[in-house]
């Protein structure tokens, strides 16, 4: 039994934690929150230099050729730090999609630039406030030209390329859906900033009018590929959420020890103790489910969709509860702009929705359980 990260992976995690403590303190996140920029350019540059974006990219495309486990430990630390950089969009979404479905040429063209940190990528799937499904896709890709509007697109204003989900034929259901790579700096692309609950990550509505688009993956495989990309992203994002949930708990714990009321540390009151014990339990459950997701990715296990859904459902719940009860533990102070509790409350909401709400993943999970228990 070795259900844990290796010593090397733990070392990488420690290094990432120290690096982010130094280069991504709450102050840096607040600069983006306060609108001084749309993302932390300096940090993003450094992250590229550290090779984090290259982690899981094969060496032949300029990557480090490490596996998903290394990406998981980095993700956890980015989540803990609420890092305001386009890492998830570029690495979990764009790079993974290209690695999964891209041609040799496409891989060559894009992956090395992602590995070096030169290129920001994203996934443009959503078309407004409703869950993703074949019927929710109205953008069309015909003859290499893309038309339609995608919103919200994470890091949409700052990305260089987007993997776009579009209707490629009139075939019903999943078979009519395809993926395409679009140069967002090209003609026929216009972007508009979109305000969200988490201003520490950039968002845009992107309108395509006959924009040039190259197909990603074989015809008819788009939706299936998209689901596979989202499964993998769900695990990485679960680690971000677990990191954020742990950071929220750590903040609450620290405050409960330092703050006195009624002549005692507030952490000595059972109302606070039991609240934080509940958060701890949730976080542990989420962490363990995330580990199973990591194991599944690292071994390419057939359980991956089930493991990914379990990791996501559990992590969404844990981060949501930890972030809101962190504010509650801080009392009035927790509700001030001045304190950093809000950073997690906002990020928890973003991560809880960015690749689909838990509702959708619960449905996926049970569909897999049904299949398994039928066998």
């Amino acid at each position: 039994m070795n259900f844990d990260f290796s010593d090397d992976q733990k070392l990488l995690k420690d290094q990432a934690q120290k690096f982010l403590a130094e280069h991504c303190p709450p102050k840096a996140v607040r600069r983006i929150l306060d609108g001084e920029d749309t993302y932390d350019r300096a940090l993003w540059k450094r992250i590229g230099e550290m090779g984090w974006t290259a982690t899981a990219i094969p060496e032949e495309y300029g990557g480090l050729g490490l596996g998903p486990l290394e990406l998981c430990v980095i993700a956890e630390e980015l989540g803990r730090a609420v890092a305001p950089v386009p890492f998830s969009s570029t690495v979990y979404l764009a790079a993974e999609a290209i690695m999964l479905a891209g041609s040799g040429e496409q891989k060559k063209k894009y992956l090395s630039k992602i590995a070096s940190g030169e290129l920001i990528g994203t996934l443009a799937a959503a078309e407004g406030p409703q869950p993703l499904s074949p019927r929710a896709i109205h953008a069309t890709l015909k003859g290499g030209k893309l038309d339609g509007t995608k919103t919200p697109v994470i890091d949409g204003e700052i990305a260089d390329i987007a993997i776009v989900v579009a209707r490629t034929s009139d075939e019903p259901g999943e078979r009519g859906i395809g993926l395409a790579i679009v140069d967002l700096k090209g003609a026929g692309v216009s972007r508009k900033a979109v305000k969200t609950l988490d201003p520490t990550r950039n968002h845009a509505a992107i309108t395509f009018k006959g924009a040039a688009a190259e197909a990603l993956g074989a015809p008819g495989t788009g939706y299936a590929n998209l689901m596979r990309v989202l499964d993998r992203a769900a695990v990485f994002m679960a680690f971000e959420q677990v990191g954020g949930a742990d950071a929220s708990l750590a903040m609450a714990r620290q405050y409960a020890i330092e703050r006195y009321a009624f002549g005692r540390q507030i952490g000595s009151f059972q109302a606070i103790k039991h609240k934080l014990a509940d958060v701890y339990v949730n976080n542990q459950i989420a962490r363990s489910n995330a580990y199973f997701g990591a194991w599944a990715l690292s071994t390419n296990a057939p359980e991956t969709p089930e493991a990914a859904a379990g990791a996501r459902v559990s992590a969404c719940e844990a981060y949501h509860v930890a972030a809101k009860e962190n504010i509650q533990t801080h009392g009035g102070m927790g509700f001030t702009w001045e304190l950093d509790c809000q950073l997690h409350y906002r990020r928890a909401k973003l991560l809880g929705l960015a690749i689909g709400a838990p509702r959708v993943w619960k449905e996926k999970l049970v569909a897999h359980l049904e299949k398994k228990n039928a066998a």
């Binding site: 959503a126 407004g128 919200p152 703050r259 509700f335 909401k349 929705l353």
Partner: protein, 411 residues
């Protein structure tokens, strides 16, 4: 069992209604939007004008005796006026703390001269009052406050900091709870004063909240000098005076039972408008169960308020059980808005224009954490229910017998 007015109540309602119709415009959705867009200064000006009209008629404080400008009416009449007024496009909300909490305290503890001087202008909206109790180190534990008042001849000199003071920035006067003796047990060394918010040394700064709003203020006191005649109650008896203020706060009926954000009606509208994978969300069994759960909480609170109003109507005084309103509604608001944003799925964290229902769910999601804290945290309210309603024993106290100065403190 019915929802009807008694004969007397119906007569009063008709009277109020007639007066409102003669003096105000009915409320419409448009007037709501217009008010939401109005600057605070404009709203304040309009509110003051309206308050003067109400006061002239005796409606500004219905339960107060006629001698001090009230109507000598019942709490139920006050509720009825509130229900009727809510149907009209009139600005309110600036005077509740002053008239509901500060002035009753002042009236009980000051001289006839001061009453003659201060009550009428407050009633007519000419002077606004705020309540300066909470401090950075004294939130749930109000009596743990540190703002000092030191005697200097016939004066007192106040130094310290208050926080979470609603309306301090537009208030003319305030009542302030201070520590005048740190060498006795914490509840015993407090003294209450009132003062002009324009006094030299008073510095009001807005607090920005996580939802971007600034409904509250920090108030700094830097050698603020006030005469002893502005003391309310005896030296060292400030806690007893504060309890009078806080009791009046609790008497506000039905607070928190609604009006704090989108509710089940809006959720149903969202569920109708939202397409899930296989049809409108309103057809999804899980969504329907959630709607039902939220609905019974909302309705349960509404009918609890009706029960309280029935007690009022019979001349009874509602007890601390009214505290359930805010616990239920604050937690429900957070849960409901969380759920609604999840229904909107990948688009659920978009705020403002692009969001369904103008982003009302998202806005309320950012306000809900504050609602769970302001005016008593969930935890403090549960203590109140456990101790005052259920009669469970008090928690052990670390701060009962020690001199305040010897109490352990943190940040």
């Amino acid at each position: 069992m019915d929802f009807n007015d008694t004969k007397e109540e119906a007569a009063f309602r008709a009277e109020v209604r007639a007066w409102l119709e003669a003096n105000a415009q009915p409320r419409t959705e448009q007037s709501g939007f217009a008010r939401a867009r109005m600057s605070e200064a404009d709203a304040l000006k309009r509110a003051k004008e309206w308050q003067a009209k109400k006061a002239a008629k005796g409606y500004a404080r219905i339960t107060w005796p006629k001698e001090v400008g009230g109507l000598g009416g019942t709490p139920m009449q006050s509720v009825i006026y509130g229900q009727e007024e809510a149907k009209f496009d009139v600005p309110t909300g600036f005077f509740e703390i002053g008239l509901g909490m500060c002035i009753p305290t002042v009236m009980k503890f000051t001289t006839p001269e001061n009453i003659a001087r201060f009550v009428r202008p407050a009633l007519f909206g000419e002077e606004i009052w705020c309540q300066l109790f909470s401090e950075p180190a004294a939130g749930s534990d109000v009596a743990g406050l540190r703002t000092r008042a030191e005697r200097d001849g016939d004066d007192w000199v106040i130094n310290g900091q208050k926080v979470w003071t609603s309306g301090a920035h537009y208030s003319d006067y305030g009542i302030v709870l201070t520590r005048t003796d740190a060498n006795v047990a914490k509840h015993k060394g407090l003294t209450m004063f009132f003062l002009s918010m324009k006094s030299p040394g008073v510095d009001v700064r807005p607090i920005r909240q996580i939802n971007g709003g600034a409904n509250f203020n920090e108030v700094y006191f830097n050698n603020v000098r006030i005469p002893d005649s502005q003391r309310l109650g005896e030296v060292g008896k400030g806690w007893d005076v504060a309890l009078v203020t806080l009791m009046h706060e609790r008497l506000a009926v039905g607070g928190g039972a609604g009006g704090t954000g989108p509710d089940v009606r809006e959720l149903i509208a969202l569920a109708r408008a939202t397409e899930l994978e296989d049809g409108p969300a309103i057809r999804n069994a899980a969504v329907r169960e959630k709607i039902a759960d939220f609905h019974v909480r909302t309705q349960g609170l509404k009918y609890t308020t009706y029960r309280t109003m029935t007690a009022l109507s019979k001349g009874q005084v509602p007890g601390p059980e009214a505290s359930i309103g805010k616990i239920v509604s604050a937690v429900k608001l957070q849960d409901l808005t969380h759920f609604a944003t999840e229904l909107e799925d990948m688009g659920g964290y978009v705020v403002g224009d692009g969001a369904p229902q103008d982003g009302a769910f998202q806005q309320a999601y950012m306000w809900a954490p504050g609602l769970r804290i302001a005016g008593g945290t969930d935890e403090i309210l549960k203590n109140i229910i456990a101790e005052r309603v259920l009669g469970l024993p008090a928690d052990m106290r670390a701060d009962k017998d020690l001199p305040f100065a010897k109490l352990p403190t943190g940040r």
